[in-house]
Amino acid sequence: MDFPFELLINAIVAGLLLGGFYAAVTAGVSISFGMLDIVNIAHPAFIILGSYIAYIINISFGIDPIVASILMLPVFYVLGTFIYQVYYVSFEKRGQESLRGLAFFFGLLFVTEVTLILVFGVDYRYVEASYIGPSLHLGNIDFPLRMLVPCITALVLFGLLHLLVTRTFTGRAIMAVSQDQLALQLMAADPIRIKRIAFGISIATAAIAGALLVIIQPVEPSVGREYIGRVFAICVLGGLGSLPGSLVAAMLLGVMESITSTFYGPSWAPAVSFGFLLLTLAFRPAGLFGR
C-alpha cells in the first residue's frame, strides 16, 4: 500500500493555515495570561462576541468582516480596560485573584455565552465575503482563500503586536510589568495603568480573532468552549508570555489537529489539543520554548 503523500501534504498545509488562525486566537491570552498573570478563561467568549458583532455589521451594512472588526477595536479595548478595572478593584487589590478571580472569569464566560444564546439562538451564523469559496492551487496543493486570508491577517496582527511589545515604550513597560511590578513602580510608571492598557489590547485582539473565526467556520455561541483548551495549550506550549513561541506552538497544534482529522476523523481533533495540553503541563510546564 503506498502512503497518500498528497493527502499528507495537503493536511500539513491546511494545518499551517489553521495554525495561523489559532495564533490570532491565542495572542490575547498570551498577553493576559502570559504577561499579566490574569487567567482570563473568558477570552474565547469575547472572541465569539467579536464573531457575532462582525456578523451583524456584515449582514446589515455589507462591510467586510475584517474591516468591521478593525472598526470595533476601540470598543473592545474600552471593554477590556473596564473589565480589568473591575478585576483589579475586586480581586487583585484584595489579593484574592487565584480562586475568586478564576470564578469571576468563569462566570463571565458563562454569562456571555448564555446571553448570546438568548439573543441569537443556537443557529449557526455565517458571513459573506468575496474570498469565501474560491481556492488557489499550486500543483496538487490547495490553498482555500477562506483559510489563507485569516492566516495572513493573523500573521500581520502578530507582527504588529510583536513590534508593539519590543519597540514602543508602552510595550516595553508591559514586558516589564510581567517581570517585576515593583521595579516598574520605582521607575515612576504606574503598573496598574500599564496592566489596564495591556488587558485592553488583549481583549481588542479578540475582535479580530472573532471576525477571522466567523470567516473560517459558521459560529454558534458554544463554539467558544472548544477554544479554551486550544488557546491555553498553545500558550503553555509556547512558553508563557512569549509571542514568537506561541506562534510556533499554534502552527504545531494546527498541523497536528489537521493530520488527526484527515487520517482519523474530525471527532478526534479536540482530544489532540487537550491531550497535548495535559502532557505539556505534566512533563514540561515551562513550555517547549520556555526559559
Binding site: I41, L99, G107, L108, F110, L118, I228, G229, F232, L277
Partner: protein
C-alpha cells in the same frame, strides 16, 4: 457535636423530608428534590478541593460524567444494583482524580484549573468515540416503575431520591469532619500560603492528592444514579457545562470556608433554578446562575455565610 450525633440528626432530618414528600404524594417534588440533592453532593465535593485547599476545579462535569458512564457501561455489561454502581463509580472517579492531581498539582493553581477543563474535553471526546456506551448517539436506560426493598414496594423515583439523600448526607458529614480534623487544618494552610506550609513541614502534595481523590470520588458517586434518573444519557448532557458552573457557583454563593456554605448555596440556587426552569426557561435559569456567581465574587467574596457572620460580629461588638 460529635460526628456520630451529627450524622444521626442529618439522617432524621433527611427521613423527615422524605416522609413529608411521601405524604404529600406529589411525584414532581422527588424529581426536583433529586436534582437539588445531587447539587448538594457536587458542591460539597467541589468545596473540599476548591474551598478548603483553594484549588479551582472546572471539570466537575467530567467526574460526574465518569460516574454516569460507569453505570451505563455496567448496565450494558451486567446490570448491578445502584448502590454497588455508586461504589464502583466512586472508585473510578477517585482514581481519575488521583491521577489528575498527580499530573498537575505540582504546578501553580491556575494550571490545575485549566488542566481540569482540558481533562473534561478529553474524556468527552473519548466517550463520544466509544460506541459501546452509545457514542454521540447516547444510551437508553430502562428502569422499572417500582422497586421492592425488604418487602416494601416504593416508586422508583422515591428510591433514587432516598439514595441521593444518603449520598448528600454522606458528603456533608465527610466535608464537616474534614474541616474539623488535622486534614482540614492542613488543607487550610495550603489555601492560605502553600509555600509557607511546605516550609513548615506540611506534606502539601500528599494532602492535595487526598483532596482531589475524595472530591473526585464524591462527584462520581453523584453521577452514578443519574442515567437511571434521566433514562437517556448522551455525552452533551452528562458533560454539560452547567454542572461545572453550578458546582462552582453554589459553594461561592453560599460561602467556601465551611461545610454549611455549599449546603446553603446548593439548596437556595438549586430551588431557584427549579422554579426558574418551570416558570421561565432553562436558558434564563443558567443566566441567573452566571450573573449571581459574578455578582457574589465581586460584592460578597465570603458568600451568604460570610454575610451572616459579619452581621453577627457587628451586633456582638455593639
Amino acid at each position: 457535636m460529635s460526628t456520630l450525633r451529627f450524622t444521626v440528626i442529618c439522617l432524621i432530618v433527611g427521613l423527615a423530608i422524605y416522609l413529608c414528600g411521601h405524604l404529600l404524594g406529589v411525584g414532581y417534588l422527588f424529581f426536583a428534590g433529586y436534582t437539588i440533592l445531587q447539587f448538594v453532593v457536587l458542591s460539597s465535593a467541589w468545596n473540599i478541593l476548591g474551598g478548603y485547599c483553594g484549588y479551582v476545579n472546572f471539570g466537575s462535569a467530567a467526574f460526574f460524567a465518569l460516574g454516569a458512564y460507569s453505570t451505563v457501561f455496567f448496565y450494558k455489561f451486567y446490570p448491578l444494583p445502584i448502590p454497588v454502581l455508586i461504589v464502583i463509580s466512586a472508585v473510578v472517579s477517585g482514581i481519575v482524580g488521583l491521577g489528575m492531581g498527580y499530573l498537575t498539582l505540582r504546578l501553580r493553581g491556575a494550571f490545575f484549573a485549566i488542566a481540569t477543563l482540558a481533562m473534561a474535553v478529553v474524556l468527552q471526546t473519548l466517550v463520544v468515540n466509544w460506541d459501546y456506551v452509545g457514542g454521540s448517539r447516547g444510551a437508553y436506560i430502562v428502569r422499572a416503575d417500582t422497586i421492592t426493598i425488604g418487602g416494601y414496594s416504593i416508586e422508583y423515583i422515591e428510591y433514587l431520591f432516598l439514595l441521593m439523600m444518603v449520598l448528600a448526607i454522606a458528603s456533608i458529614v465527610i466535608s464537616r469532619s474534614i474541616a474539623r480534623s488535622q486534614l482540614g487544618f492542613g488543607f487550610a494552610t495550603i489555601r492560605d500560603d502553600e509555600l509557607a506550609a511546605e516550609a513548615s513541614g506540611v506534606p502539601t502534595l500528599r494532602l492535595k492528592l487526598i483532596a482531589t481523590t475524595i472530591s473526585g470520588a464524591l462527584m462520581g458517586m453523584a453521577g452514578a444514579p443519574f442515567p437511571y434518573y434521566i433514562g437517556y444519557l448522551q455525552p452533551a448532557s452528562a458533560f454539560g457545562l452547567e454542572y461545572g458552573v453550578n458546582s462552582i457557583a453554589m459553594p461561592i454563593i453560599g460561602g467556601t470556608t465551611s461545610w454549611v456554605g455549599p449546603l446553603v448555596g446548593a439548596i437556595l440556587l438549586g430551588s431557584l433554578q427549579q422554579i426558574a426552569t418551570v416558570t421561565i426557561s432553562s436558558a434564563v435559569n443558567l443566566l441567573i446562575v452566571g450573573l449571581l456567581l459574578v455578582a457574589f465574587v465581586v460584592i460578597a467574596p465570603n458568600g451568604l455565610v460570610g454575610l451572616v457572620q459579619d452581621r453577627l460580629r457587628a451586633r456582638r461588638s455593639k
